[in-house]
């Protein structure tokens, strides 16, 4: 521990701490703009400057470490003036459209301008208007609003390692641009939306589809149903200032009903369905490889629920197409079942059913617009709203979200298990799959405390587990004594690591779960801002709590699924399943490079 003084207050601080962190501990707020803890710490925007006694110039507190006897002043006139000038300079090159901006009241620049009492901008604006980029289904770029903090560049280049966004040109002409093109649709972008999740202003946002959903609800001829992804219930509360990790499934259900949806359902239902299909697919592949010694069977098998990962795979590793499970994502399975099985049940034409998804994800907007996602005969999922959009939607309808009572989701597409809940976080799909596959093969429950596969939990980038199978049922005897190796990666940079290791023969797995976003869907590109590791942990904890509190915790126990297979689908990987629930992928290696 070392002793420092901050604003004449004596404080103790650990060695190696930055002034910014030491200040936070001492309950002193220092403003930041370009800084993102553990992600980007370049010290370039200079908003966080402080005065240090004996040091000639102001120092950025986000990258300056404390030292013994340091005397720091965080709010002297010089510091305040410097910050004001930075804000004024940024504002002089920023359109003043706050009222009509997507980030109104949720903008870091706007907030700082208010906190620092900016009443006028002394610098004349040149304010060149740059064209709006609405070329992709998920992401909208508005370079005019960009303050060049480069957070999006860092997440795109270093966390996701997709490399779409990069600064272009120099000086005043600098813009953050996609690939070597002007439009995002002409560059390789996986639509993960991590850029939109970290943007401090309104320069990168998701495409707003709220009005289209209003229109569908207002149309009396349409039967509008909604599905909510597992990650929403642990994050939506944050849009209403509830603590991160507050479970709001009941209130969310009530709110969706109040909004006028004709059926409030759960993507979890389809997540359980995914486990049955994908688990069966894995076991079939293993059987073909081990018993039939079929060399053409592609192993390891990769999960396919994360549409950003699918986009990434198609662009960067199309050679893995045979390895990726053919299962559609839960969102698309839900759409296909809703417009066939469910439509029949309620006696509606599929053309009259509108499926709205609430997703933590911007890539889901892209996914539902894929041409092949029309197996019901029409577009399987019509509109996707992100968690943030749902928050706005609820506010637009004047619903007092925090104080409304809990309600239950509708049957049958609202019935699900705990295994589906954990689809929301990294390691969850794998755990859910193991819960079911192990029981199919051995007839016994997964032999772990509370059914959790501890080695694949948590926020490490790449996680592994091995499971020895013993005491198999007769038909699965070929798996007796086999050790199944699984791996889990979240964040595409980590996915890349795992793929490269497999390519060079360093690692051998049977089954790999990939989630596009750090932390999994709970850290998705459409989740409430700002997602930090602490918030990721809080959301994950909430999801596990939800799972543990369930009556059913294994996908194959879902009673509604049993009925679905009996009445409609037949069996996993059966003909109808194959047609409605499975898909194919495309080699896009040479597209948009």
């Amino acid at each position: 521990m070392i002793n420092i003084t901050m604003n004449n207050m004596k404080i103790e601080s650990e060695e190696g701490t930055t002034i910014l962190d030491a200040a936070k501990k001492a309950r002193i707020k220092i403003p930041t703009l370009c800084y993102l803890k553990n992600v980007q710490e370049p010290g370039s925007c200079r908003m966080c400057v402080v005065e240090i006694e004996g040091v000639r110039t102001l120092q950025p507190s986000c990258i300056t470490h404390v030292s013994e006897g340091m005397k720091i002043y965080t709010n002297t006139k010089e510091v305040r003036d410097a910050r004001k000038i930075i804000l004024e300079l940024l504002l002089s090159d920023h359109p003043w459209e706050c009222n009509t901006c997507d980030r109104n009241q949720d903008c870091e620049l706007q907030k700082l301008a208010e906190e620092y009492g900016i009443k006028e901008v002394r610098f004349k604006s040149i304010n060149e208007e740059l064209p709006l980029d609405e070329s992709t289904p998920g992401i909208v770029r508005d370079p005019s609003k960009c303050i060049l903090c480069r957070r999006c560049v860092t997440v795109c280049q270093e966390i996701q390692e997709v490399g779409t966004l990069s600064p272009r040109a120099r000086g005043f002409d600098t813009i953050i641009a996609p690939g070597q093109a002007d439009l995002l649709s002409e560059a390789v972008c996986v639509q993960c939306g991590q850029c939109a999740a970290v943007c401090p202003v309104g320069a990168i946002i998701e495409k707003d589809d709220i009005d289209k959903v209003w229109e569908a609800i207002d149309n009396p001829d349409k039967f509008v149903i909604v599905q909510t992804a597992p990650a929403i219930r642990a994050a939506l509360g944050e849009c209403f200032d509830l603590e991160p990790g507050t479970l709001v499934k009941g209130r969310m259900t009530t709110a969706l009903r109040m909004l006028g949806f004709d059926g409030v359902f759960d993507t979890n239902f389809a997540a359980d369905l995914t486990i049955l299909e994908e688990g069966t697919e894995l076991l079939t592949r293993l059987k073909k490889a081990i018993v039939d010694e079929d060399k053409s069977v592609a192993l390891p098998m990769f999960t396919s629920c994360s549409p950003g990962w699918i986009n990434y795979m198609e662009h960067f590793y199309p050679e893995l197409i045979p390895n990726v499970s053919t299962c559609k994502s839960p969102q698309q399975m839900f759409g296909a079942v809703a417009k066939t099985y469910f439509a029949e049940k309620v006696g509606k034409k599929k053309e009259d059913i509108v499926v709205v998804s609430i997703m933590p994800c911007t890539a889901k907007k892209f996914e539902c617009n894929r041409e092949e996602m029309t197996d019901s005969g029409v577009k399987d999922v019509d509109y996707v709203l992100t968690t943030r959009e749902l928050g706005k939607f609820i506010k637009q309808a004047g619903i007092d979200f925090v104080n409304i009572p809990d309600e239950e989701m509708d049957a049958p597409l609202g019935i699900s298990t705990g295994a589906a809940d954990i689809f929301a976080n990294t390691g969850g799909v794998m755990e859910a799959a193991l819960r079911t596959a192990y029981e199919i093969v051995t007839g016994r429950e997964l032999p772990f405390d509370k059914l959790h596969v501890v080695p694949i939990q948590g926020l490490d980038g790449v996680k592994e587990a091995s499971l020895k199978i013993e005491g198999t049922k007769e038909e699965w005897e070929f798996l007796e004594g086999v050790t199944v190796n699984v791996a889990v990666a979240h964040g595409l940079g980590n996915a890349k690591k795992i793929i490269e290791e497999i390519k060079f023969g360093k690692k051998h797995y049977h089954f790999i779960e990939i989630m596009t976003c750090p932390g999994g869907c709970i850290g998705g590109g459409g989740q409430p801002r700002m997602t930090t590791d602490e918030i990721r942990k809080a959301r994950i904890q909430a999801i596990y709590k939800e799972d543990e509190g369930r009556e059913y915790r294994k996908s194959h126990d879902n009673p509604a699924l049993k009925v679905l297979y009996e009445e409609f689908l037949g069996k996993p990987l059966g003909e109808r399943s194959h047609h409605l629930l499975h898909t194919k992928y495309f080699n896009k290696k040479d597209e948009n490079v």
Binding site: T164, P167, R168, A177, V593
Partner: protein, 167 residues
Amino acid sequence: MTIKEIVDKYGSKRENLLQILHGIQNQNPRNYINKESISALSKEMNIPVSQIKGTASFYSMFSFIPRGKYVIRVCESPPCHLLGAESIFKAIEYKLGIMIGETTKDGLFTLEGTSCLGICGVAPAMMINEDVHGNLNEEKIFQILDQIQEQEKERIQLCREEALTRF
């Protein structure tokens, strides 16, 4: 040279990117870096296209649009400005009919401005491709440009004659 050969010549480490980009631009008859070469370079060096374009666009010596065979770079720094860089631009505009950033219809000349060329002692100055010209005035510029045009005419004539002899 293919992109691979250029990369091999300078080495595939990131720090060699600028030299490689110069190599690519210099061998292009229109003096620019096209989209296809950036894509190919990205694969060869394992650097995203966004970063290559971002790097190249930072430097004014690189172009992403076709330019003339001769790129005229007139110095715009203060010493040259004081000694009449403005009139140098005007003289070139008059002679070739192109403004800054434009290329002549015959594809021979492109006019650009540049920051200091480091020869303020002979201001105002300009570069035509790799050749530096100082102490410029209207007359001298006409002379230089006439000479190039003459050379090119002769060259074209020679090519024509050579082509005719083949019949």
